[in-house]
Symmetry: C2
Subunit: 334 residues, 2 copies
């Protein structure tokens, strides 16, 4: 059986994946610690996410896809903070040293590492149930980090692109989706395994937004996090929530909307923008490839209604409330 050292050398210390010493990287893989320099006018942003087999992905999923999802969800946290990716560490627990699996996994990481200019700088490998912990490190200018805590009443709520396709993927994996065309399967599959961290978007708007978060837990829950940290409430116009076209097609508007509100994993950004900054924000995002949609507004803190949803008749059809025990969705909600 391959030793841990062999695996690291063969699969992970390869060109295009491993960080190369330079201005920021002083010591990469191969010592007790990695060492980096952070420029004097910047902060280091970092985030750790763990993916567990059969909880976060099917154990039989292609290793390259598991890798791309593991790194993408972490990079999405950097995007949500407005940080530029720098390096990542990998804690990989695997049942056995299966070299073809590891090579495909490393290849998946490498593709993402190159695309986002974020290379592997260290980590650890253990035996056990397949569990992937990644910590991404990124740089953000002093005072420019996008936080959850900056939203104010009157701020407009924007999201990138559309929602629901990751939830559609989970239905597809469970065999609960019929008549999916082969080209649709590919799109849906990648929505789950290869969500698009909105790094360029975040770097473009970092100075123009009041708060931000990425949608990992679902629109209501993640907007709820902004409300909690910003001590405010929010109102969503359900008619404006953009659903992915395949969600509209396969689930219809009503069921698709339910997924968009409560299911997560799309990794689009929620950004709040003050009225004063909105013209500059719209100007800045007009050159970006992503679609931006205003879906609602931040309001004064209301203990009973953290996030309220208004339908096409102007009626409040559901809301979440702040509670000591976290999220208590209304009856019928999940």
């Amino acid at each position: 059986m391959l030793s841990e050292f062999d695996i690291i050398r063969t699969c992970f210390e390869q060109e295009g994946l491993a960080a190369i010493p330079g201005d920021s990287v002083i010591q990469g893989i191969g010592d007790d610690c990695a060492l980096i320099k952070v420029p004097a006018n910047k902060m280091l942003a970092f985030s750790m996410d763990t993916l567990v087999e059969d909880i976060h992905f099917p154990a039989t999923a292609a290793p390259g896809l598991i890798a791309s999802r593991a790194l993408a969800v972490n990079l999405s946290d950097l995007a949500a903070t407005g940080a530029k990716p720098l390096v990542f560490t990998l804690g990989l627990t695997i049942p056995e040293a299966n070299q073809p699996w590891l090579e495909a996994f490393a290849a998946g990481l490498k593709t993402m590492a190159k695309e986002f200019n974020c290379y592997l700088i260290g980590g650890d490998m253990s035996r056990g149930a397949l569990t992937i912990t990644i910590q991404v490190q990124g740089l953000v200018d002093d005072g420019q980090a996008i936080l959850r805590s900056g939203a104010c009443p009157g701020d407009r709520i924007y999201i990138t692109e559309s929602l629901g396709c990751a939830a559609l993927a989970l239905l597809m994996f469970e065999g609960k989706l019929n008549n999916v065309l082969p080209e649709e399967q590919e799109i849906i599959n990648l929505a789950f395994y290869r969500p698009q961290p909105r790094i360029d978007t975040a770097l473009t708007v970092a100075g123009l937004v009041s708060a931000g978060i990425d949608i990992s837990d679902g629109l209501l829950a993640d907007l709820g996090h902004i409300c909690e940290q910003s001590k405010c409430s929010a109102t969503l116009d359900l008619t404006q929530i953009p659903l992915h076209p395949l969600v509209e097609k396969h689930l219809g508007r009503a069921a698709g909307l339910s997924k968009a509100l409560s299911a997560g994993d799309d990794y689009e950004l929620i950004l709040t923008v003050s009225a004063a900054q909105e013209p500059s924000f719209l100007d800045a995002v007009s050159v970006l490839p992503e679609k931006f949609t205003c879906i609602g507004e931040i309001s004064e803190h209301n203990e009973a209604q953290k996030v309220s949803c208004i339908d096409e008749n102007g009626s409040m059809v559901r809301s979440t409330r702040a509670g000591a025990g976290g999220y208590m969705h209304f009856q019928g909600d999940d």
Copy 2:
């Protein structure tokens, strides 16, 4: 069942464990990313280690002890680099949200966090087999990091304190150790679950040593890492290897020595010191509580003998060799 948010709030966002915003910590637990500032004349050192139940510790071990071991082995990597602990992140995968277990685990972390002034700044929690991934972040002055790569022929090899007690603990856990007094059990147990990261030592000698590493894989393997990275070989005087008194008592010198050479988990430091720096080094360590022992010398690179062991008769009784496939211990060795 408690939600992830409840668990984090109740157990991990407590005073004395969670990092408090200040000069270095800009954003702690509760946003997409943690944010820190690194002083202009310093580097950030970081290391990630994963502990898996029934691989790195018995699943039935006390949660506070599991926590102290998980943080200690990471802090030891900072010590090996000469870095001062700053903050840590925790990726915790647990089979169920067992609150008493989590509270005891958090209490174990808190004790270590306070002792080493290294607080929790973020992480992730998942369901699955008990797996603990910690990444520690520390600060080291520019140009002062202890690396594996700086040893030169003629450098003397020192280690802190004594070896073998963690291996003795594993024998005790397996029921293979008889006639252990209750007070000895406690010492042996803590040697495994609460190894002492040699932070103060490392900070004291950082500018005086040529290379360093902590002993996690065993003396031969870890000294071998220094030899590989420094492109040299090493000779150990077996008569000088300090064994823990309980190792001498329960295993005898010969069997104890075998454990000291090949078993890991003691987390003592190996430090190499040039002849020119040795007087300053000895002067500096004379005020430290740890015992330091010179156990050998670095020599010119020898492909066939990476680490050679000399017995009381001056005979070479074993050696490791550098090989493409990593460590190839001689026959009879494990």
